[in-house]
Every structure is written in C-alpha cells, then in structure tokens.
C-alpha cells in the first residue's frame, strides 16, 4: 500500500514541477530546458540549509525560490532578443552551468549529492511515513496549480499566449513584452525551485541524479503528453508517466533492471509519435474537463464556410455605386484636411542602414479626423515609415511629436499606449487564439494583466473581463465578424484576417491608426466593405494613415496624399494632383 502512496506523492510533486513548466512552455511559448536545473536549485538550497545550518525545510525552500527567481530573471534578460534555437541553447548552457557547479562544489557532496536529510518538520509534524506526505504534497501541488491557473487563464495568460504567437504584434498592441517575458521566467523558475525543494524533502536527498537529464526529459514528457497549454492535462501526463514504471514492472513483468530502459524507450518513442499524430497532447489547449463532464462537449471550432460568405456589413453597403469620386469631392477632402488640427508631426526623421538610406528628412503630418495616404513604388520605404513612427525602428535623427509629445526613443508598446497603433502588411494575427481572444488582447488598461491584481481574489478582474469581452464583441460586430468569435484565427481566409486585424487595432481605442495595405490581397467584393469601415472610423474622429498601392482605394479614402520615393517624400497633395504630375505618373502610376 505504502508503495502506491509513494507513487501518488510522486505524481503530485513531479506534476507540480511540470505545471510550472507548462506555464512557461505552453502559455508563454518559451522553450526552456533549464527547468529541472531550477528545481535542483530549490532542492539543493533546502537540503544544504537543513543539513549544515539546521534550517526548517520551509525556510530553505523559500531561500531556494528566491535564488531561482533572481537567476531565472537574469537568464530571461538576454533571452529577450534571442530566437527559439538560441533560447534552447542558452537554457541548455545555463542548465549545464548550474548542474556542473552543484556537482563540482565540494560542500554539495559531489556526484553523491546531499543525502540523509532530517525528516521535514511541518509546524511540529514530522513527515516520516509515506502517508504523512499525502496531504502536504496535495497542498503543494494545489498552490502551484492555483498560481499557474490564475495567471494562465487570466487576461495576463492571454498576453502570454500573444507573446508565444507573435511578440512583435503583441508589443504593437501596447503590451510590455519585455517585462512579461522576464517576470514569467522569474516566476516559473521560483515555482520550479519550490517543487524541486518539496521533491528533495520527500526523497530526503538532493543528488545530481535526481535532477539530471532523464528527469528533465520526464518533466517535458509530462507536459507534452498531457497537452501544451492545458494544466489539467499536465496532471494527467504526470499520472501516465509516473505509473508507466510500475505497470511495466508488475503487469507486463519486465525485470526491474530492464524496466527503466524500456520506460525511457517508451517515453522517447511516444514523444516522437505524439508530435506527429497529436501534437496538442491528450487534452488540447482550451479543453476543459469540467465543461466536458457537464455535457458541453463540442465547443464550436468551425463555422460553415461557403464560398459565398461575405461579411455581414457588406449587405448594407453594396448598393453604393462603385465609381471613382468626382474631382469636387476630392477638393473638399483636401480643404478639410488643411483645416483639421495636426495630431502627429515628424520633423527631419532620417534612418540609414549602413549605406542604404531608408528614410531621409521625413516631414509628415497626420490630421485629426482625416485619412492620409502614403503612396509610392515598392521599396520606397512606406512600411519603414510605420516602423519609425511606432518605435520598431529608432530613427538616427529627427523628432516625432504625437499631440506635442516626443515619441522618439519610446518602445513600440509605449507608442501604442500613447494612442498610435498599426496593422501589419502580413497581418500577424495570433493564430492559435480565437478571433474573440485576438480582439480582447488588444483592449487597453485591463486590470487582469498585472500581477498585483491577480495576487488576491479580485472581483474587479472578473468584472473588467466581462467588459473587455463585450467591447471586443462590439468590434467584431463592427467589422462583421461576430459569428467567428470562437474560431481560431488560423482558420480564417485572407480577407477575413484583414478585417480581424482592423478590429484588433480598433479595440485598442487608439486615436491614430496606421493601416498597412488594408485592402490589398483581398477579394474585390470585400474591398468596399473595408473602405466603408475605414471611412466610418474616420467619421468617429480618429486619425488614419494608410499605406496603399490601389489607386482606387487611395482616391476614395485619402484626404491628403504623400508620395514617397527612395525614402523621401517627393510630393504631396490630392491624389488627382499627384496623378496629373507627369513625372510621378511615369515613376509610379505608369501612365
């Protein structure tokens, strides 16, 4: 009996470590192979302080967590700009350094490690027998589960998933990607140390073998088997992985010496096979056992899509005649543009990449409640202008003033918070999030995105989440995509992704919208929908700047047009004036 109790406790404690890895790997998308090493920091700190200094194991655990938190944060600092393969290598290096030092440092017992730890004393209760451990292990795993769930399934979890899917797009929506990445690394490292210390307290030893490579793999296997981004799945994965060994030994009767090899072969093969057949694991992300048990079994993942599907808004607008606007309208456009107050002004903005001048002495004005177009041949630097304005590229010289405030030197997320957001030419939706989540992520000032708000049970977070959802649904409705709320963005057609990306920037409620080719590449019958929407946005008093190739689009939308060539603004005025300039017509308009 006590043997099975031991397996149960093992499931719980391994599970606790795997849960924290899932928060890091599954939710935030940070592939770390150093997780077991952070567990080792917790285990060794607890073991060393209790053996050498007679500390209570809880105190040692806390110290271990603090050390792991600091180290985890430090590791995350360089990880900010590294791609996945460098992150794997960095964590591999860190893991080797940590384990190497633990083995090499004489006071930690070398390859033998620290053994014969005293029985842990939990407020006077000495945990000696296997059954003593059931309750403490349950409490330990519950603590980790609650923390991971609280963060993972909150607005902050949504930001972390955004980080996983596309950090650039997340940052462009005003989220401080850097801070999230660093803090989630620190937090999960501390949680790993906590689980590692509990493991050492239960085993009453901390050795290099306990936290070695096989252990690291076991933890990864638990997360992958159970389902990346699903915490209940991780506990299921822990159960499967831990129980594999006794099942092999007792049921299939493989001799003990070979059982551990066979077990590792099964893990290994299963990992490879699973990645091929069911990469999402046993319980996929977003699957809730609780909802499933209540009979809510088939969450809608697909809307019947026919070739004829058009956004609902089109039905109201298609009766509009599709002709070029008369010249009189364009002149009115230009007059209102000159009368409108300036919202954004750039002065002398230049940027060179080596010998290439990407932008030279840019003088651009965006005016309130108007649409400004940026046209020019391919490679003229139009998208570079957006990158400069939003802080993705820092200009060499010049100034960018938004409502009188200097933007140069701010990070993309800070620019977004000042009220200027952009879309991307390649759209950059968060593919594995639903359309609704995509838009909800864009809503600003969500209390549930901060650690302090999540630290205590907080009605405000819940209420704000309901408001966020309502707002996001409104914007989905505005672009005619409400029926797709629960569909993952990856399932959308290209035209739909463009509508979604418009809904996403609108949900930020920013005053200035920079739209990179909003109508390019989409079905002709949708173009008018898109233009209609952009005009409505302008009529709400927002300031819009579009980069666009389609002259029909520019002609209809633009109140004022800048013409760009080789990183310079070479002309401006109405589109009619520009098309009537012979030189420009030859350079670009091709007539």
């Amino acid at each position: 009996m006590s043997l099975w109790i031991n397996y149960f406790v093992q499931i719980l404690l391994y599970g606790a470590l795997a849960l924290s890895l899932n928060l890091l790997l599954g939710y935030a998308g940070q592939v770390s192979v150093a997780h077991a090493a952070f567990g080792a920091i917790g285990g060794y700190t607890m073991a060393y302080t209790s053996l050498e200094h007679g500390w209570n194991f809880l105190l040692g655990t806390l110290l271990g967590m603090a050390i792991a938190f600091v180290l985890g944060t430090l590791v995350a600092l360089p990880a900010l700009k590294l791609s996945v393969e460098y992150l794997i290598l960095l964590t591999l290096g860190v893991s080797s350094v940590i384990l190497g030092l633990l083995v090499a440092y004489p006071s930690f017992g070398g390859t033998y490690g620290l053994i014969s730890l005293p029985a842990p004393n939990l407020f006077g209760w000495h945990l000696r027998r296997p059954e003593d451990w059931v309750l403490p292990a349950l409490v330990a795993v519950a603590i980790v589960y609650v923390i991971c769930h609280r963060i993972g399934e909150s607005p902050m979890g949504r930001v972390l998933k955004g980080l996983r899917e596309d950090p650039v797009a997340t940052s462009a929506l005003g989220k401080n990607v850097f801070a999230y990445k660093v803090s989630i690394f620190g937090l999960t490292s501390a949680l790993a140390a906590f689980a590692g210390a509990m493991l050492a307290a239960w085993l009453r030893l901390a050795t290099p073998g306990v936290y070695g490579f096989a252990f690291s793999l076991t933890i990864v296997a638990m997360v992958i088997f159970g389902g990346i981004g699903n915490l209940a799945g991780t506990m299921l994965g822990a159960t499967i992985v831990v129980l594999l060994e006794p099942v092999l030994r007792r049921v299939i009767k493989i001799e003990a010496a070979k059982a551990s090899f066979v077990q590792l072969i099964i893990y290994g093969v299963a990992l490879a096979v699973l990645m091929r057949l069911r990469p999402q694991g046993a319980l996929p992300e977003g699957f809730s056992l609780w909802r499933w048990l209540r009979g809510d079994r088939a969450p809608k993942t697909r809307v019947e899509m026919t070739a004829e599907w058009v956004p609902t808004i089109v039905q109201q607008t298609t009766d509009r005649p599709d002709t070029d606007l008369p010249v009189a309208v364009q002149e009115r456009h230009e007059r209102t543009w000159h009368e409108a107050p300036v919202v954004l002004r750039t002065t002398g903005v230049s940027k060179r990449f080596g010998g290439i001048v990407a932008a030279s002495e840019l003088e651009i004005e965006l005016r309130k409640g108007t649409i400004t177009a940026l046209v020019g041949p391919n490679g003229a630097g139009k998208t570079t202008v957006f990158n400069l304005l939003t802080g993705a590229i820092v200009p060499d010289t010049g100034s960018i003033l938004l409502n009188g405030e200097e933007l140069v030197g701010l990070d993309p997320h800070q620019v977004a918070r000042k009220g200027m957001v952009r879309t991307f030419q390649d759209v950059r939706l968060f593919n594995r999030l639903t359309c609704l989540q995509n838009v909800m992520l864009a809503v600003q000032h969500q209390p549930g995105e901060t650690f302090t708000a999540l630290a205590v049970p907080n009605g405000r977070v819940k209420q704000a989440e309901a408001e966020t959802k309502a707002k996001a649904l409104d914007w989905l409705r505005f672009v005619g995509m409400a029926e797709f709320a629960d569909i993952p963005a990856a399932a959308l057609s290209y035209g739909q992704t463009k509508l979604m990306s418009l809904a996403r920037v609108l949900a930020t409620e920013a005053d200035v919208l920079l739209l990179d080719e909003p109508a390019s590449g989409i079905d002709t019958k949708w173009v008018d929908t898109m233009l209609e929407l952009i005009e409505q946005v302008r009529d709400q008093g927002r300031t819009v700047c579009v980069v666009e190739h389609n002259l029909h689009v520019v002609g209809r939308l633009a109140d004022h047009t800048y013409f760009m060539e080789l990183g310079q603004i070479t002309a401006q005025g109405t589109i009619a004036e520009l098309t009537n300039t012979p030189r420009l017509a030859e350079v670009y308009f091709g007539t």
């Binding site: 900010l80 960095l90 190497g100 990992l271 091929r276 010289t397 100034s399």
Partner: protein
Amino acid sequence: MLALTFETFRQLTVDGFFRGCSYGLLGVGFALILGVTGRFHFAYGFLYTLAAYLAFTFAFRVNWPFWLSAAIGVVLASVGGSLIEARVYRPLARNAGPTALLAVFVAALGIGIAGENAIRLLWGANTQSFYGPTKEPYTVWDAIFINFDVWQAASGITITLALAAMLRYTALGRRIKATRANPDLARTIGIDSDRVYVIVFFLGTFCASVAAIWYALKYTVDPAMGTLPVTYAFVTAFLGGTQRSPIRVFSMGIVVALIEQYSSIWLEVRYTQTAVFVVLVLYLTYLAIKSSAWTARFSRPRIARA
C-alpha cells in the same frame, strides 16, 4: 595552482588541439544540419553512439576487419540520420507548420533518449572496450600524444576541407547553399529541398560518426557516450555560426577545446567543463545585447528639434 610550467602549457595546447579537432568535426556536422535544415537535431548524440556501437559489433561480434567495420558503422549511422529526417522530422514539420521547431526538438529529444536506452537494452548498459590498431605514443615538442590523435586530426581537417570545397565548387554545394539561404525560393527554381535535407543529414551524421570512431578507439564505448559530445557540438556550431563556412566552425572547435584546457590552469579540473558553458552563456548574452533593440535602449538618438 598558478605554478604553470611551459611544459604544462605545451601539453595543454597539444591536448586542446587534438580534442578540438573532435569538437570541430562534431560542430561542423551539427552546424550543417541546423544551418541548412533548421532542425534542432538533438538525436545527433544518439547517432554518434550508434556509429561506435555498430563498428564495435561488426569488429568484435561478427569479427570482420576493424577498418571495414568502422566504415560500415559510419555509413550505417549516416543512413540512420537521413532516415530520421525523411521518416520523422519531415512529416512532423509539415504537420506542425509554424511550431515545427518545437515539434522537431521534442521528437528529437524523444528519439535521442529512446535510442540511447535501446542501445542499453540491446548491447548492455556496461562500458565495452574497443580494440583496434595498436596505440603508439609520440613525443613532439615535449608533449605526448598518440597515433589516434593524429589520425583524428587528419581526418577532421580533411573532411572539413572537403566539405568546404564541396559547398564552394560543386553543383550539390550550390544547391545546399541555396536551400540554406531560402528553402522556399530554392524550391521554386527547381531544387528538390527534401533531397538536399536528406543529403545534409547524411553528411552531418557522417562527421559525427567519424568523431565517434576515434573517441571509441581512444577510450571505450558506453551507451551515454553521446551526451557530452552533442553538447559540445551545439556549443561549437553556435559559436562558429551555423550559417558559416565549415572551416570557421572547425576552428571554433579548437578554440573551445583550448578554452577548456587552459581554464584548468586557473580552475580545478572539475570546473573546466562548466567554464565552457559559462563562455557560451556570456557569448549569447553578448549577442542579445548587440542586437538592435538593446543597443537602442542604451544609445538614444539625438533629437533634432525643428
């Protein structure tokens, strides 16, 4: 501890050079695979071990001549590398789309651990001794080394130069470089990138297998012998640059081994391995700081007020 004699220094340098030829060859193979295919091939260490075990089996169980057995081991392991790409990584990557790197990494981790334990199950978990040609010591420049060291260095340098020449002067080399630069574009001009990947896995594993034979001859074979070399292969390949010339990566292997050897002057031997990883972590940190967003953080542009 700082009582360093010139003699010790020479021995460390010679040891570092020969050891570095092994790291270099491992790094060249890994860099080729990662640089061209983008697959984080963690099962590299398993194939390294497999080559040694296959050679061992043909030489001492089937009793074939040693060099023939070694060649068969190297070739079979290399074919194994190609098979892993064609049968596991490729379908996996197609299926996983944008998350291919993680999927391949996890699968490779799985194959590595399954393979290592399959070797334990089939050949036994113990160390096996490996006798080939007779070991002959040399003393040059007051430093001692053996004939295997020389052969290892010679084969490493030869393979690296041959690879570099192949990449530079042959049609296959141009196809590989085109695929490395942009697989999709390469496909549009008629390069069968699937085939290139398979060839690259063969060549990469070939490098590792040759290194494995020399290691086995110098020491012994055991199921875990691939764990450490694969880590050194990663380090060498990344420090050298996975997209760079094999010659540069190979030289980086020697630099890594020299760092490891020289660090024993100041550090106790048990810390020297860790020293290499410290260098790696520092290098990656440097890379991160060098990249634009960070430098921008520390050097604000001058603002020209109008």
